[in-house]
Subunit: 346 residues, 3 copies
Amino acid sequence: MIDTNFYERRAPITLARICELLAIDIPERCDPGFVIQDIGRLDQATDSDITFFHNAKYIDELSKTKAFACLISSKYSSLLPEHTHAIVVEDPYLALAILLREFYAIKTDHDRSRPYISEKASVSGSAVIGDGCYISDFVSIGKDVIIKNGSFIGPNCSILRGVEIGKNAHIEPNVTISFAKIGDNAYIKAGARIGQQGFGFQIGRNGLVDVLQIGRVLIGNNVQIGANCTIDRGSMDDTIIGNNVRIDDMVHIAHNVAIGDYCVIAAQTGIAGSTTLGKGCMLGGQVGIVGHVIIGDRVSIAAQSGVMQNVENGKRIAGSPAMNAFSWQRLNVIFRKLDGGTSITG
Amino acid sequence: MIDTNFYERRAPITLARICELLAIDIPERCDPGFVIQDIGRLDQATDSDITFFHNAKYIDELSKTKAFACLISSKYSSLLPEHTHAIVVEDPYLALAILLREFYAIKTDHDRSRPYISEKASVSGSAVIGDGCYISDFVSIGKDVIIKNGSFIGPNCSILRGVEIGKNAHIEPNVTISFAKIGDNAYIKAGARIGQQGFGFQIGRNGLVDVLQIGRVLIGNNVQIGANCTIDRGSMDDTIIGNNVRIDDMVHIAHNVAIGDYCVIAAQTGIAGSTTLGKGCMLGGQVGIVGHVIIGDRVSIAAQSGVMQNVENGKRIAGSPAMNAFSWQRLNVIFRKLDGGTSITG
Amino acid sequence: MIDTNFYERRAPITLARICELLAIDIPERCDPGFVIQDIGRLDQATDSDITFFHNAKYIDELSKTKAFACLISSKYSSLLPEHTHAIVVEDPYLALAILLREFYAIKTDHDRSRPYISEKASVSGSAVIGDGCYISDFVSIGKDVIIKNGSFIGPNCSILRGVEIGKNAHIEPNVTISFAKIGDNAYIKAGARIGQQGFGFQIGRNGLVDVLQIGRVLIGNNVQIGANCTIDRGSMDDTIIGNNVRIDDMVHIAHNVAIGDYCVIAAQTGIAGSTTLGKGCMLGGQVGIVGHVIIGDRVSIAAQSGVMQNVENGKRIAGSPAMNAFSWQRLNVIFRKLDGGTSITG
């Protein structure tokens, strides 16, 4: 199942250790010392493996699995064959996420016990590179840059003057970072652009006058930023990304935007200048939000919505222009009947 | 017409050779040995050149052309002036495409008769680079990478550990490829990101738990991928792109998506995780498709559509949320009359 | 206020010099020789600083400012406290833009009095690099490239064969430029892709036939191009960007598009092949325009619009498919009442 060009299997794990990782009791009639060899899908797992069931779509495969054990919610556990032990958990997919990284690892050249700076990188004499960092080929690191312990910088990254990157960052290849301070455990995917000049100008009598952008990008801890994202720096204030934020590929964050902790933003969404998102918002893909609006906490915005005004805490919105998601669903049903109810799928 | 900084004209071609290339008979009253010097627009071609007519918009220029010959469909051939020979073909634009590459070539430093690896590249000792490959400046090639014969890798590309690239690939500059196996004749445009970690995590009691992504990106033969695209690798299974697929710039393909052979996907479209496209689908620009749906073969999806459910073979859909394209057109006409029919263009 | 890792404060400026820069008279009862130390927000400026008021949102802070002077329109000047001199200007934000760059500068290693080519760059022997250029690490510059005086090329840029870049360009890191001629004062942000092969092919009996793209990208003077944009080169003609155009991040410009002078295009917009924009158009974010249409001068297109036909000079359009913006607004009001007027924000 695994491609050993890219990944390696780690050592097998006892059932006791698995239960410990999942913070659950060892199931009845199970040998805690039984060694689980691998983790695999219902149709792939063998009688020394653990499998998982987190999607009702695969319910027909439950009875056929050969697995020794299965991560499953209590609701479905009775459907397992007799030879498969139910490892009952609240959220089987979460349990899978926890176990996957015990069974597998990505092959990497990064040995955190010692620092490595490629001879083909260019590191300014005034930059400070922490212990156990890995600086790949053709990385350019400017004056006064600080990269803290254990961080990995992939090939062809440009880290410009004065940038600070926290501990244990993983920066994929071909990334640009400038005018930014980034917390610990950042995961920044290939081709992301952080800190470039924002889209700021004013129209004067003699043409366009550019507004010098003198702010920064400030990114909290445990943030992930998708491939080919663009996060512009602030103009006079800063562009701010909170802690534990997840941003998918090709998301655009304009200057002076502030994103609260635990926001999740799907691919190709764009947020215009000076807009604020509260904590824990969930944005679908291809959403657009105009500038200078305030989105509250825990707001849910459906894919392809166009948000043009402030939104209160906890609201679910959809549509372009965006409205209450339930109104939008109702109006769409009505819209589809405007031609007299002709089948729309015919 | 041609800028010789970038392109070169190749040798003139006889009419006989042109007809051979187009797999048609030599027209009556034509000298098969006549040497065609160049190919140009109706208003540019001289009496030793060939021209083409593929767009009715230019019908007024037909009678004025000075060209020796014209690629044209039978429907319009009688409109040519007497001095211009009609080269009647079914699809004049296709004929143009075939002839253009006989008359012109892109200037390149790539000599396929011998391999070239820039001294300013970095190639792992365990990588295998085929005959006639061209590895440009500041290319980083990781451990165990395989690049087959005749492939070109542009400057500042990062090809990470274990990647395999087939024969005669053309990889434009500043591309990132990781965790991927790519077939023959790939054309990957500048800044494309292939194989980065997908957007996978689960929300646990103590915050977000990332799902280790242990799949790959598998790309077939004769595939083109646009500039600044993002194609994430699979989580447990693979992300799959079939043969002869054409993907325009800035398209996002999420983890575990599968795209069938001969699909054509226009710019800025996004396809969410685990969705499947059949063969020969045509997607307009800025389309969004949600995750976990199945799109059949030969489905046509209009630009800016938002697809939220499975679609059967051969359907044409449009709108957001997407519906049958004909229903959508009818409903739009009705929608535009809801204000009593006030002119919408006034 | 300013982060001295990235920016530096320039010398203080007399009030007389400020008025000269703004082309206004020195206000009554003001000492022209008074030295202004800094420029800051209403709540930050001290009694030797100048502040600004350009957004009614901050009206409550006006009376509380400690600033020595304030850039303000005549309408609001009476609201300033007695100790703050009103510097009355027509457009306070424009005045701010003009003064900001007198008070601050971005820290840079680029000394325009002498050229600098990193030892870790790769510059073809036939390339011509002007006086006072700065060529960063890992820049690859191909044969016959011309870069005129005073231009800056950031790290990891790929400038391919035959490209011409005018005076005083600022090219941020990780940019790709090929098959292009670019005017003076270009500002091209990180990861932009200019000149790659367009999305051109024709479907033949035996599969797809690619159309050789033998055009260029021609860019005028004073143009800004956003991060991760994609501007494809022309197929037989050129892709053209006029003078003084401003393009935000992640905008896609397909082959043979022509953009008139002074157009402003917000983020994530896409323009399909062979479409023409007149002068002075304003496009919101996430707009899509189909190929082969003609948009007039001074056309305004709302965010997320989908434009499917020609548009006359001076029109304001919105919606997908796009229509007159006023019709669209009216129709949206009607649409939202189709369910009987249930609150859409509830």
